[in-house]
C-alpha cells in the first residue's frame, strides 16, 4: 500500500460466480462450492494447490458464517492437510478490495502461493422486513442512530441529499445511473434484473426516503463469487490471462454516518490519488470503471474522484450515456448491485470479479473491446471506507 510506483506483485488467475437472485433451493454452501470450483478450474489448478482460503463474512445466517470461519470450505473442497490457513477477511461491502489487498500481501511476500477469496450469502431469501432490519444494524450504531429509525436506505438518501446540494446533481441524473446499469445487466445472465428500465420509470416509482425512490434502491439477492490470487510471477505461468493488481489505496472516514465531515466526497479523492500513483497510471489510461454502486450517488461520488468523466460532472456524464454499453467509459458492466443484485458483502465482490472477467476477455456479450486498465471501487458499512484499486492486463 505504498504510494510509490511499483510493478505488480500479485495477479488474479481464476474467477467463479453463481447467478444472483432469490434461490430458495440453493443453499449457501452449495453456491459457495460452485463458485469456488469454477474459480479453481478457471485457474487450471486443483484444490490442493490452494494455500489459503479466505472467505468473507455472511450476514443472513450466523450458523453458515461460523462454518466459513471454521474451515468448512477446506473440508468440502478437499483441501485438508494441504491448505495452510483458513481466515475470514470481512469489511462488509469493502471486502472485495480488502480481501484483494490482504491476499496481495500474502502472495507477494511468499507467505502464500495461492489465495482463494470467496463469498456466499442468502440475504435475498430473507423476508423483506428482516432484510430491512439486518441492514438497519450493519454499520449503524445501536446507541446513537438506531433510536431515531436510521436504516440503509436513509444512508443512501442522506448522502444523496448532501451530494446533490453541493454539486447540483439532479434526481434524473441519479436515475440515469440505474438506467446505465440496467443496460449492462440486460447482457448479463447472472443479473437479477434484466428488463429495460427508463428514467421515467425510476422517477415514477414509490418514494422511499427523499430523494430515493424504490428503483433508486438496490434489491437484496442470494449469490456467491470467488477469485484466486497468486504472485505476479506465478500467475504468468498459471494462465494466459492474468489480471495484475497495479495499485490500491483506501481511507476510513467514519463508523457512524454522522461523523463523516465530507459526505459528498467520502475518502475517494485521497484513495484515487494514491492508487493511481502506486500504479503509475493516470485517469486517461483507464478504459473501464467497475464501481461499487448500492445507491446511484455512490457511483457518482467515485466517478467524480476517479477523474474518468472527461472533466464533466459525473451525473451529467452518466446521463449523456457515456457509461452505458457502447459509451466511452463503460461503468459496472455486470449491472452492479442496482441490477445484478446486492448479495451483502458479495455485492462488491461481484463488481470486482466483473473487472477481472472483462480484463480476462471472458465477458461474453458484454465484453468491452481493447480494455487494458480498469479501476474498481468498494466501500463497506454505511460507506465507512473508500477503496480504489487499479487493475491491468499488463504487469507494469
Amino acid at each position: 500500500m505504498s504510494t510509490h510506483r511499483r510493478s505488480a506483485s500479485a495477479a488474479v488467475v481464476g474467477i467463479g460466480e453463481v447467478p444472483s437472485g432469490r434461490f430458495s433451493d440453493r443453499s449457501e454452501i452449495e453456491a459457495a462450492v460452485i463458485a469456488a470450483r469454477e474459480a479453481i478450474l478457471d485457474a487450471g489448478l486443483s484444490p490442493r494447490d490452494i494455500d489459503v482460503v479466505m472467505p468473507t463474512g455472511a450476514l443472513a445466517s450466523r450458523h453458515f458464517n461460523v462454518d466459513l470461519v471454521f474451515s468448512r470450505l477446506c473440508e468440502e473442497l478437499g483441501m485438508l492437510r494441504s491448505a495452510k490457513m483458513n481466515v475470514q477477511v470481512m469489511a462488509g461491502g469493502g471486502s472485495s478490495s480488502s480481501m484483494l489487498a490482504v491476499a496481495e500481501a500474502l502472495v507477494s511476500t511468499g507467505a502464500a502461493r495461492t489465495v482463494l477469496c470467496l463469498h456466499s450469502d442468502k440475504v435475498g431469501s430473507l423476508p423483506r422486513q428482516a432484510g430491512i432490519d439486518l441492514f438497519a444494524t450493519t454499520g449503524v450504531s445501536e446507541e446513537w442512530e438506531a433510536p431515531y429509525g436510521h436504516n440503509m436506505n436513509a444512508v443512501g438518501a442522506l448522502v444523496s441529499q448532501r451530494y446533490m446540494y453541493e454539486t447540483g446533481t439532479t434526481e434524473e441524473e441519479l436515475a440515469a445511473v440505474c438506467v446505465s446499469l440496467r443496460k449492462w445487466a440486460a447482457l448479463n445472465p447472472h443479473a437479477m434484473f434484466r428488463q429495460p428500465l427508463t428514467v421515467e420509470e425510476v422517477l415514477a416509482s414509490k418514494m422511499i426516503a427523499d430523494p430515493l425512490r424504490a428503483k433508486h434502491c438496490n434489491v437484496l439477492a442470494d449469490g456467491a463469487s470467488a477469485y484466486i490470487v497468486a504472485s505476479a510471477q506465478d500467475a504468468q505461468k498459471m494462465t494466459k490471462t492474468p489480471v495484475f493488481v497495479r495499485g490500491h489505496s483506501s481511507l476510513v472516514t467514519h463508523y457512524t454516518l454522522s461523523q463523516d465531515t465530507d459526505l459528498a466526497k467520502l475518502g475517494f479523492p485521497e484513495a484515487a490519488h494514491a492508487a493511481y500513483a502506486e500504479a503509475g497510471l493516470r485517469p486517461q489510461d483507464i478504459q473501464l470503471a467497475q464501481i461499487y454502486d448500492s445507491y446511484p450517488v455512490f457511483a457518482l461520488i467515485a466517478m467524480d474522484a476517479l477523474g474518468v468523466c472527461g472533466g464533466e460532472r459525473a451525473g451529467a456524464f452518466v446521463a449523456a450515456g457515456h457509461t452505458s454499453p457502447g459509451g466511452r467509459m463503460p461503468m459496472t458492466t455486470n449491472g452492479g448491485m442496482l441490477s445484478q443484485g446486492h448479495t451483502g458483502a458479495g455485492g462488491g465482490i461481484a463488481v470486482l470479479v466483473e473487472a477481472f472477467r472483462q480484463l480476462m476477455g471472458k465477458a461474453g456479450e458484454r465484453q468491452v473491446a481493447n480494455a487494458v486498465n480498469a479501476v474498481e471501487t468498494a466501500s463497506g458499512g454505511t460507506w465507512m471506507d473508500s477503496h480504489v484499486t487499479i487493475l491491468s492486463k499488463e504487469p507494469g
Binding site: 431515531y148 429509525g149 426516503a209 430523494p211
Partner: protein
C-alpha cells in the same frame, strides 16, 4: 409521538449525556487535557487519548448537514412513525450528530437550514432523545447551493 423501539443503552461514559437529556439539557463531552469536543462520547479522548474528560453545556444550535424524509421501508417498530425526518446536524460548536427534525415545515427543510435542539420523551421508557426543530428564517429556495 414515541420511539419505543431500539432504545439507547448508555455506556458508563455516555450516561451523563442521556441523564442530561432526561433533564432537557443538551451537553457535549469534552477533553480537559486538549480542550476539544468529542462526539459521540468516548472512553478516552480520540485526539490525545486522555481520560480526563468532562461535559459542557451546548447551545444546541446548528445547521442541517443532510436530511431525508423516510416515507417507507422503516425498521421494525418505526413504521407507525412514518413519515419521519432524519437529519445530520452540524452544531455551531463544530461536531455532528444524527437526530430527527420535528415540528412545522420539517418535511420541506433543506441542507443548510438552521436548527435548534428540543427533547422528546420515549413513551414507556425512562429515556429522552435530543431532537431538533427549525430555527428562524428558512434558507431561500435557490440560495443555498454551493459548488
Amino acid at each position: 409521538m414515541s420511539f419505543a423501539h431500539a432504545l439507547p443503552v448508555p455506556t458508563p461514559w455516555s450516561a451523563p449525556y442521556w441523564e442530561a437529556s432526561r433533564k432537557k439539557r443538551f451537553v457535549l463531552q469534552c477533553c480537559n487535557a486538549c480542550d476539544r469536543l468529542i462526539m459521540y462520547p468516548k472512553r478516552f479522548c480520540p485526539f490525545c487519548l486522555s481520560e480526563d474528560l468532562g461535559w459542557r453545556d451546548s447551545a444546541g444550535t446548528g445547521e442541517i448537514y443532510s436530511i431525508t424524509v423516510q416515507r417507507a421501508g422503516a425498521p421494525t417498530g418505526f413504521s407507525e412513525h412514518l413519515p419521519y425526518v432524519l437529519i445530520i446536524v452540524r452544531l455551531d460548536e463544530g461536531v455532528q450528530l444524527m437526530s430527527r427534525l420535528i415540528g412545522p415545515d420539517a418535511e420541506t427543510a433543506r441542507c443548510g437550514d438552521r436548527v435548534k435542539v428540543d427533547f422528546q420523551d420515549v413513551a414507556g421508557a425512562d429515556v429522552t432523545l435530543p431532537v431538533f426543530r427549525l430555527d428562524g428564517a428558512k434558507t431561500p429556495a435557490n440560495g443555498s447551493r454551493s459548488t
